[in-house]
């Protein structure tokens, strides 16, 4: 239990303008679950990419089971017993499960043998999976099983998991943890990356905390509070969004019997979605990714047109109106994908401010653009939402994820919408920026706007929502008051654990 599996000594990696990892050292013991904690941009991903051979360190060394270890490419890392489950799945949607798994193996057996092995291992670890299904048809939880089984088939000594639970329901998380604990008991070490601190406290034996590329603390997560670990990550005390009591106002947005076929082939169609949001209220919509979130956002923003009365704004049907008309009427939306959907990556912040703001902020007069007003609007967003950028002339692409997200949300909030729809408002945003964004949303609601917040972050939804509903397979559950909702209830609303079962390896 105490022999070191992997020792990391002084790893350093610099990219132009930023030191991603600065003299990072720590040790992973055999058979332990080791957490790597840190905010976005703290250097977690770069560090594991070096261990997995995707990035070469500038300085420092690693020792794996007593031997120097510096994999030039992922193949070498896999051959040494290091396997990795990626944050954004590294799967091929058009290929089937067995082909996907074969691609992650060095010497895959014949397809028929491999399919049998997949069934065997998936059964053993309680992760049922049909080797012949096309990955594009699988749910997010099932896709993760593909990745995990791909790793397990190689009998790894060290399993790296990068944010594995961000796409799972609470029940699926439980099953994943049981699988991981089983692996640990069999002697596999796990390097677990997450910023969900409750999970770390439940699962991990040891934690190394990174901030701005440096190791700032190590701790035993079972002995720390969540708040203490969060402050180690951020390096300052955290601001918790304040919520003013909300008085039920009149209904601002009503959606009735909304069914929309998904525009993308692997998407989820909406089925008979109905809900209403009143003034000053925040409706949180949870659910695992790919259950109709993007389709619902598109139907609400006007990107997808429906029958007029299916979407009603203050009683008037707007279902057949496009995004600009809806904006004029006060219904604004901020979609999930920052680069390419909510913002045009290669255009400046001024141009991006103008793209959604021209209707409500009068940035175009007689068909001519009013550049000075647009720039003023962009500057107000930058100032009001603490967007860190040299100025409004910079391209949206040049901003970090968190800063661009603050800009995108701020742009809509400043237009004083009567209804605001946000999808994943704090995805990939560090804790302090996320708190600022949530505060802005709550302040907007306090001023009387109705908010629809679609998110996969349940903690976030519980923090800001007045009522909660879940999307599951394109259907929306009936909204219920968020106060007092338990994780189990939420999990069941999100569809439970589908067909997963608890690991029963060794029980037979």
């Amino acid at each position: 239990m105490s022999t070191p599996l992997l020792e990391i000594k002084g790893l350093t990696k610099a990219y132009p303008g930023v030191v991603a990892n600065d003299d990072v050292s720590f040790t992973i013991k055999s058979g332990e679950v080791h957490a790597l904690l840190g905010e976005n941009g703290a250097g977690k991903s770069t560090l594991v990419k070096m261990i997995y051979g995707l990035v070469k360190p500038d300085a420092g060394s690693m020792v794996l089971r007593g031997d120097p270890f510096l994999p030039p490419e992922p193949r070498a890392a896999r051959a040494s017993g290091v396997a990795m489950v990626f944050q954004h799945f590294s799967l091929f949607e058009a290929l089937d499960v067995a082909e996907n798994i074969a691609l992650g193996m060095e010497n895959p057996p014949k397809m028929a043998d491999l399919a049998a092995r997949i069934s065997e291992v998936s059964e053993e670890y309680g992760l049922p999976l049909d080797p012949h299904r096309i990955v594009g048809d699988l749910s997010a939880g099932e896709r993760q099983r593909v990745e995990i089984i791909r790793c397990l088939l190689q009998n790894p000594k060290l399993l790296i998991m990068d944010e594995p639970t961000s796409v799972l329901t609470p029940q699926e998380v439980d099953i994943l943890f049981q699988t991981l604990e089983q692996l640990r008991d069999e002697g596999t070490s796990i390097l677990y990356i997450s910023h969900k601190l409750e999970e770390i406290r439940r699962l991990c034996d040891h934690a190394t905390i990174l901030r701005l590329g440096k190791v700032v603390a190590t701790c035993n997560p079972r002995q720390e509070t969540v708040r203490a670990m969060a402050e180690m990550m951020v390096g300052e005390s955290l601001h918790v969004p304040e919520r003013k009591p909300h008085v039920a106002g009149e209904i601002a947005l009503e959606v009735e019997d909304l069914s929309v076929a998904s525009p993308s082939a692997f998407g989820t169609s909406l089925k008979e979605v109905s809900f209403s949001v009143s003034k000053g209220e925040v409706l949180g919509i949870g659910g695992v990714a790919g259950n109709g979130q993007d389709e619902l956002t598109a139907a609400l923003s006007g990107e997808v047109l429906v029958a007029p009365l299916q979407v009603r704004l203050a009683g008037a049907g707007v279902g057949d109106k496009g995004p600009q008309e809806r904006r004029a009427l006060g219904l604004l939306a901020a979609p999930e994908e920052r680069l390419g959907h909510a913002a045009a990556p290669d255009m400046s912040l001024t141009e991006n401010a103008l793209l959604t703001g021209n209707v409500r902020e009068n940035l175009a007069k007689n068909g001519f653009l009013d550049w000075s007003s647009a720039e003023g609007f962009a500057e107000r967003i930058i100032e009001g939402f603490d967007v860190r950028t040299p100025g409004p002339d910079n391209a949206a692409r040049s901003l970090s994820g968190g800063n661009l997200q603050k800009f995108v949300i701020g742009r809509e909030v400043l237009q004083k919408p009567s209804v605001l729809v946000v999808n994943q408002p704090t995805w990939g945003v560090d804790a302090s920026a996320a708190a600022a964004i949530r505060q802005a949303i709550l302040d907007l609601a306090a001023e009387g706007a109705a908010i629809v917040c679609i998110s996969q972050d349940l903690d976030e939804l519980m923090e800001i929502s007045d009522r909660f509903a879940a999307l599951n397979g394109g259907r929306l559950t009936d909204p219920v008051p968020a106060q007092g909702l338990t994780v189990d209830q939420i999990g069941l609303m999100m569809g439970g654990a589908h067909d997963m079962e608890v690991a029963h390896h060794g029980a037979a």
Partner: protein
């Protein structure tokens, strides 16, 4: 007009010959597109292959050496596209169009002294007994070796893409280049090899035109065959055996219209000449019409997208 002058047997036999150059170019482009690269320069690579093959065959007197030169010529030209799109991340559509224009000009320059010359002939393989079979004999067993080579190539590519690890990696790179990179596959290297293979196939197709099908050298002699090859890949939903079907369909239309012209059909020649192209357009429209289900997903997901390793 006299339709009885058209012999079905000869028609089908000619069809196989007429389809061979398009088939070669299309099967090469299919491999390229499976790897996620859209090379619109097929026409340019074909005609470069046509003149390279013609010149070498005339100088050496050996058609086999000519075909080898045609393949090398097409592959070298495709590497211009490969380097530009894979290393300098240029736009694939624009670069492919430029490659076509460049290939047409280059071949015209190289071919100036070869106009009006006859190349060394390539004999038909007359398989005894089999070629005497009624109807099937002349259709199937009385062709030059390139026809058989091309058919074997199509089957080989079908097998490699479907069953081999190399084929799986090619499909993976075309499907999700970021994931392939994360798993440690060399996306750019795989794509460069696919582009070179596609160039060699297009060059062979051009060589077949100038050495066997026509056989002589004239400027711009590919006359849009490269574009038709591109259309056939889409028509075939990126499936090798359907490429064979598409190429024979198009070859059939070409031969049929020539026969109808000869038979004196009372339609202006221009209409008949344009018919293969019209049919290509119609087929493309039908095939690309939006539809439900898996058929619409046949295109590799990363087709035409530039890859740049971010880390």
């Amino acid at each position: 007009m006299d339709l009885s002058a058209i012999s079905p047997t000869l028609l089908i036999a000619f069809l196989m010959v007429a389809a061979t150059p398009i088939l070669l170019a299309a099967i090469g482009e299919l491999v390229v597109e499976k790897a996620g690269v859209l090379n619109l320069g097929v026409e340019g690579m074909m005609i470069t292959g046509a003149i390279c093959g013609f010149a070498v065959a005339v100088e050496t007197g050996s058609p086999v050496l000519g075909f080898i030169a045609a393949a090398i010529g097409g592959a070298i030209l495709s590497m211009i596209f490969g380097v530009l799109t894979q290393f300098f991340l240029t736009n694939q559509v624009a670069t492919g169009l430029a490659l076509t224009l460049f290939g047409l000009g280059l071949s015209s320059l190289l071919g100036q002294s070869y106009v009006g010359i006859k190349p060394p002939g390539t004999a038909k393989i007359d398989i005894p007994v089999l070629s005497d079979i009624l109807v099937a004999g002349p259709i199937l067993f009385n062709h030059d070796w390139m026809v058989y080579f091309t058919l074997a190539l199509v089957v080989a590519i079908w097998w490699v893409l479907k069953f081999s690890r190399m084929g799986l990696i090619i499909r993976a790179v075309g499907e999700n280049h970021d994931a392939a990179h994360a798993l440690g596959y060399k996306v750019v290297r795989v794509r460069l090899m696919a582009i070179a293979f596609g160039g060699a196939c297009a060059g062979l197709g051009g060589g077949y035109l100038s050495l066997i099908r026509v056989p002589q050298w004239t400027d711009g002699m590919t006359a849009g065959a490269g574009w038709i090859a591109l259309a056939i890949v889409v028509f075939a939903s990126w499936k090798p055996l359907r490429v064979l079907l598409g190429a024979y369909l198009f070859g059939g239309v070409t031969i049929l219209q020539l026969n109808l012209q000869a038979a004196g059909l009372a339609i202006p020649v221009e209409y008949l000449s344009m018919s293969p192209y019209v049919i290509t357009i119609v087929v493309l429209v039908i095939m690309s019409a939006p539809r439900k289900g898996r058929a619409s997903l046949a295109a590799p997901a990363c087709l035409g997208r530039a890859f740049h390793a971010s880390s």
